[in-house]
């Protein structure tokens, strides 16, 4: 055995890179470029998405109003002259249209503003919602009849679109719903400050409106519907999911049956959400006879959909707790349940919360299963979820809609103003998601501070 070197590579300087090293370094540089390109693509996509949504949707938080004195003529609005609300209600919304139009015409004449339109064309500048607004005001307060009120009322969607750049003089020439004369008058009134575009809370608080009055369509019902569904999901999915994961992870014997359950839970997480909608339709509506499109049914369906996500996340975070903590507790004479609830669960809490919020966010944005249980309903009136009328439990009576479904149904309407509304609804949805993530981060911080 002589002392031979293992290989006979020639001796090289450390300063000169050999071919292998160069190749390796090139490969690394290439990989870093790929990675950066991937990240940049993602960022670019995000920027495009946000600019398009914000560009289309932010204007839905602003709305154009016109303010002028409206003379509430008694002979039209209260023909009997006795201020009886029931008889006054017989004057329908259409009865208020001439009231508004005549007042506007009189106002323009009084101000000396010239225009070339007839009364009908002039009235068409106002929103179809405006007469209903005034009618509700009058019915709520009959003393207003006979007086002249200074009201701020909605203008039509096209006029509103003119001030937001959606409608132009050129497009108005081709549009049967708006005339150039109307736009010219609107511009004059805007210069005088009679027509103004301002921030619009009604977009968030008002219920949906029909296809011909996009200017009055709001998200109120959808927000409440989504909120109650999230409550149902949180109240059901979190305890059920965490209990199931703790049992499966800590107590269940490891055998064929639990293996089968585990595989099925993983598969359920990948099942298309519309399948859960069909399940909900069959079980909750057809079999259990719950009211369709009630928030409870929606919440139950979304709970089923969210459970696998929560269970998988919870099990993963339970598994990540070091076994030494369990042993320490058991070694001190803690029971299995004590060791889990005193030590393992608090340590797993950040992971569980993250999983739950991800599941909730997924549920908040889900549309498909809700379509199948009738939540795509057009809800014109605020539902009374918490009442127990007609022998139903709270959340089981009135139908509701949800934010993503509202987006879906608005994008289906013909008036281009609804594109703006749908984008605005997406912004609200994103704000909700951001808020939920913020809550998740705050909760995680709080639990992590317990070392």
């Amino acid at each position: 055995m002589t002392d031979m070197p293992i290989s006979t590579a020639p001796k090289r300087s450390l300063y000169a890179q050999d071919a292998r090293t160069k190749k390796r370094n090139r490969a690394e540089a290439r990989f870093r470029t790929y990675g950066m390109a991937a990240v940049l693509t993602g960022i670019l996509a995000l920027i495009v998405l946000l600019t398009s949504i914000l560009g289309n949707g932010l204007s839905s938080f602003r709305q154009t109003y016109i303010s002028y004195p409206i003379e509430l003529a008694a002979e039209r609005l209260d023909p009997e002259g006795n201020r009886n609300p029931e008889e006054m209600a017989s004057v329908t919304t259409f009865g208020y249209v001439p009231v508004l139009a005549m007042s506007l015409q009189a106002f323009l004449e009084g101000e000396g503003i010239e225009h070339s339109m007839g009364g009908r064309e002039l009235a068409a500048m106002l929103s179809e919602e405006a007469p209903a607004q005034i009618r509700n005001m009058v019915l709520a307060n009959p003393d207003l009849i006979g007086t002249t009120i200074d009201a701020q009322i909605l203008v039509g969607g096209r006029i509103d679109g003119f001030f937001k750049g959606r409608v132009t003089m050129e497009s108005a020439e081709r549009d049967r719903n708006v005339s150039v004369a109307q736009l010219e008058l609107a511009q004059v009134l805007a210069d005088l400050g009679i027509v103004e575009t301002r921030f619009n809370w009604d977009f968030i608080t008002w219920p949906d409106a029909s296809g011909s009055r996009p200017e009055a369509a709001g998200l109120g019902v959808a927000i409440i519907g989504s909120f109650y569904m999230m409550l149902v999901v949180l109240a059901l999915a979190l305890p059920i999911g965490v209990a199931a994961s703790i049992y499966l992870e800590e107590f269940a014997p490891k055998n064929r049956l639990t293996d089968l359950i585990e595989v099925n839970i993983s598969n359920l997480a990948a099942v298309p959400s519309i399948v859960f909608g069909i399940l909900g339709l069959a079980v909750f509506i057809n079999f259990m006879n719950f009211n369709q499109s009630s928030p409870l049914v929606g919440g139950l369906v979304l709970t089923l959909m969210t459970l696998p996500t929560i269970i998988i996340a919870t099990r993963a975070s339970l598994r990540a707790v070091p076994p030494s903590i369990r042993q320490a507790a058991l070694g001190l004479g803690a029971s299995k349940m004590q060791s889990i609830f005193h030590h393992v669960l608090p340590l797993a809490m950040p992971g569980i919360l993250t999983g739950t919020i991800i599941g909730l966010a997924q549920a908040l944005g889900e549309t498909a299963p809700l379509l199948l249980i009738g939540m795509v309903a057009f809800v014109r009136e605020y539902p009374d979820f918490l009442s127990t009328h007609s022998n139903t439990f709270p959340l089981m009576g009135d139908g509701a809609t949800a934010l993503p479904v509202q987006v879906y149904s608005w994008t289906q309407r013909s008036d281009p103003a609804f594109v703006e509304r749908a984008s605005g609804a997406i912004i609200v949805l994103l704000v909700f998601l951001l808020m939920m993530n913020l809550i998740a981060i705050l909760l995680r911080r709080r639990f992590e501070r317990r070392w």
Binding site: Q327, A328, G331, G333, H343
Partner: protein, 270 residues
């Protein structure tokens, strides 16, 4: 007075008389699935004595230690046969709740594993779940006594609310000992308590073990023969799942009767 308790306990001389048998194991077999890990082991754990289990890696000494407080129950495939008694009561009797047993037979693990809570809560956890204190001052007294007994009080008395995980390795291990001591166990099992510690921390823990002997039976598993020689009065040598020899520590190290023991302690096997 700060160090009064600790000093009192350290005055016990090495040659204290063995007062009787605390735990008795007869014909213990342990199986992990088909693997026969412990074969027909008989050991008596004497009261107020340090018993050391030595042997090469994988010889079953830790497994046997875990037989003594039924920690093996937490492993699904593990099966224990034979008789193990604590003061004459069979600890594998179906009537015995392992949770109650573990309150009497405490355990300290190889790696320091304090709970991610405050130092106070770490020590107070055992007394709390076993209802050993009537009120808060009672609990504080138990915590102080336990920390003194683990020779940690002086180092942490000003920061009892600091996290236990923020202590150094040696302090953490002493905290774990304090935590085990706080439930007033009768037997204290230690599974290589010094293997993750530096020599200074090891010396502190060894000193502590010697002091603990005045109140508890201590059973210690160790890889270090020097440590066994230093801290124990009785030594059991395990090899390949068999108990080869069990005798006074002096006898094992100076005059072993089995050639395998001699080979091991002179460094030829293991």
């Amino acid at each position: 007075m700060e160090d009064g308790n600790v000093n009192d306990m350290s005055g016990i001389d090495q040659g204290v008389a063995v007062t009787g048998t605390k735990m008795k194991a007869r014909g213990v077999d342990v199986f992990y699935g088909d693997n026969h890990a412990i074969k027909e082991v008989d050991v008596d754990i004497a009261d107020k004595t340090v018993t050391a289990f030595i042997g090469p890696s994988g010889c079953g000494k830790s497994t046997f230690l875990r037989v003594l407080n039924r920690m093996n129950d937490t492993i699904d495939i593990c099966r224990v046969e034979g008789d193990v008694t604590l003061e004459g009561e069979d600890i594998y009797d179906p009537k015995v709740d392992p949770v109650q047993l573990r309150a009497k037979v405490g355990m300290v693990f190889q790696k320091p594993n304090p709970f991610p809570k405050s130092i106070f809560d770490n020590v107070a956890y055992g007394p709390r779940i076993h209802g050993l204190s009537r009120n808060k001052s009672d609990l504080e007294e138990i915590v102080e006594k336990s920390l003194r007994r683990a020779a940690l009080w002086d180092e942490v008395k000003d920061r009892l609310n600091a996290p236990g995980t923020g202590l150094s390795g040696g302090q953490q291990q002493r905290l774990c000992i304090a935590r085990a001591v706080a439930t007033s166990p009768e037997v204290l099992l230690m599974d290589e308590p010094c293997s993750a510690l530096d020599p200074i921390a090891t010396a502190q823990v060894e000193e502590l073990i010697d002091e603990l002997r005045s109140r508890f039976s201590v059973v210690i598993v160790t890889h270090s023969m020097q440590q066994a020689a230093r801290v124990s009065q009785k030594t059991a040598f395990f090899h390949l799942g068999n108990l080869v020899e069990f005798d006074d520590t002096d006898t094992i190290f100076t005059n072993p009767s089995d050639p395998r023991t001699e080979s091991y302690i002179t460094g030829r096997i293991g």
